[in-house]
Amino acid sequence: MTAVPAPAIRVEGLKKRFGTQEVLRGVDLAVAPAELMVVIGRSGGGKSVLLRHLLALVRPDAGRVVIDGQDVAALHGRALDGIRERFGVVFQGGALFDSSTVLENVLFPIRERRRFAPTDLVPRAQEALAQVGLAEMGHKYPAEISGGMRKRVAIARALVTEPQVVFLDEPTTGLDPILVNSIHHLIVGLHRKYGFTAVMVSHEIPEIFQIASRVAMLHEGRIHAVGTPAEIQDSTDPAVRRFIHGEVEER
């Protein structure tokens, strides 16, 4: 295991139940500053629920989510908005505003937050689009571009505000292997360039082993294993092996 310095994100004893279903049963996870942490685990295993807790879209039944020293699960109103302004989020389906063009989508967060000079907004948005290779697509609507392009626009929109923490919820779901690699390549390139802390939920195995700083496996509502890609790949733990090698569980 790698030694973890003062973490940028620390999840402690996170529990969440929906009705009779206990989705998170005490999740503990520490993400170091500027680290690209990939959370893997079976579909329906609570990865997205964990991510929604990090974004404070869901409140935990117990436990804490500490980001830069603040427990986001206990924040409300302006204080919560204050920390969210440092986030960039790529949702599973992109979550682009479908009644706005691609350029307007990327413009939206910077125009509304008023952190940048008005004359700076359009060049900034266009630069963000150029970075994801979509400089010419600004005038199109989300419905007029392909699934892979929509993911790229979502990444551009997440990064245009220069976030310090980036969350990605299965950013490659539904893409072909070539597109998966190109999106991963893009994420790694941007991560290296900007040095943000990133938490990415994914089940692209083995591709994520090439891009993650560390990998955490969520299993039965807890972080079952965490380590560098090499450590996870060489793990002798049966649950980890079953998951990453796609072995069918014998019952």
Binding site: L80, D81, V89, Q92, A95, D98, P109, R113
Partner: protein, 261 residues
Amino acid sequence: MPGSLVLDGVQSLGRYGIRTLASLGRFGMFLGEALLWAVVPPFKARQALQRIWFVGLRSLSVILLTGAFTGMVLGLQGMLMLQRVGSEAFVGPLVAIALVRELGPVLAALMVTGRAGSALAAEIGVMRITEQIDALTVMALNPMRYLVVPTLVAGVVTLPLLAWIFDVVGIYGGYLVTVKLFGMSSGTYFGQIRAFLDTGDIWVGFWKALVFGLIIAWVACYKGFHVGHGAEGVGRATTEAVVLASVLILVVDYFLGSVLP
């Protein structure tokens, strides 16, 4: 055992009651929160104008059409009825007062519910299930401010205007039937309207339309925000929004009718 059957019945009735009360509470609190955000600047004028365009201008053709025919029907039935008692001179006030106090606001609101309320619920519902509302939230941009308040403003601004348009078109519809078809003099028709229709009637119509506009926007936003899963959830939210808004409009109309002078 019959005893436990009764107990089960009471329990499920209690559960149903609590659930209904809780959802009524959520429904009310949703409006309360939206009204609170409506008075906290900054105001999203651009979003409000887009909504006014959507709710108002795009409902205009259906308002013109239904307004004209409602006035024509009132003129026709009023004429046939009042001819029997020899008071056909009063058909103008009958058409005008019925429209301005009652039918203008109610029918315009029902038309807007069908035309724009359903579309708003579906649009917001789709934004919810495709995580667009979550995207707004995590951008630290309050969805109440960006989605709900502009919609409420649009409802409150456009409904009185649409109701007035409905009234005016309806009065001319009545004119068409009584003057052009039955041969009444236009001086009698409009003169009697001027004599009997007062500003109090116009205010009643105004307040009703304003409240109905608020109801349509409130219900559509609430149902869209609390949508179930997938396309089926959006479909159900849309239907529920139309039914709930229509029922509320008719119920509230009765109470406003008895409270307003």
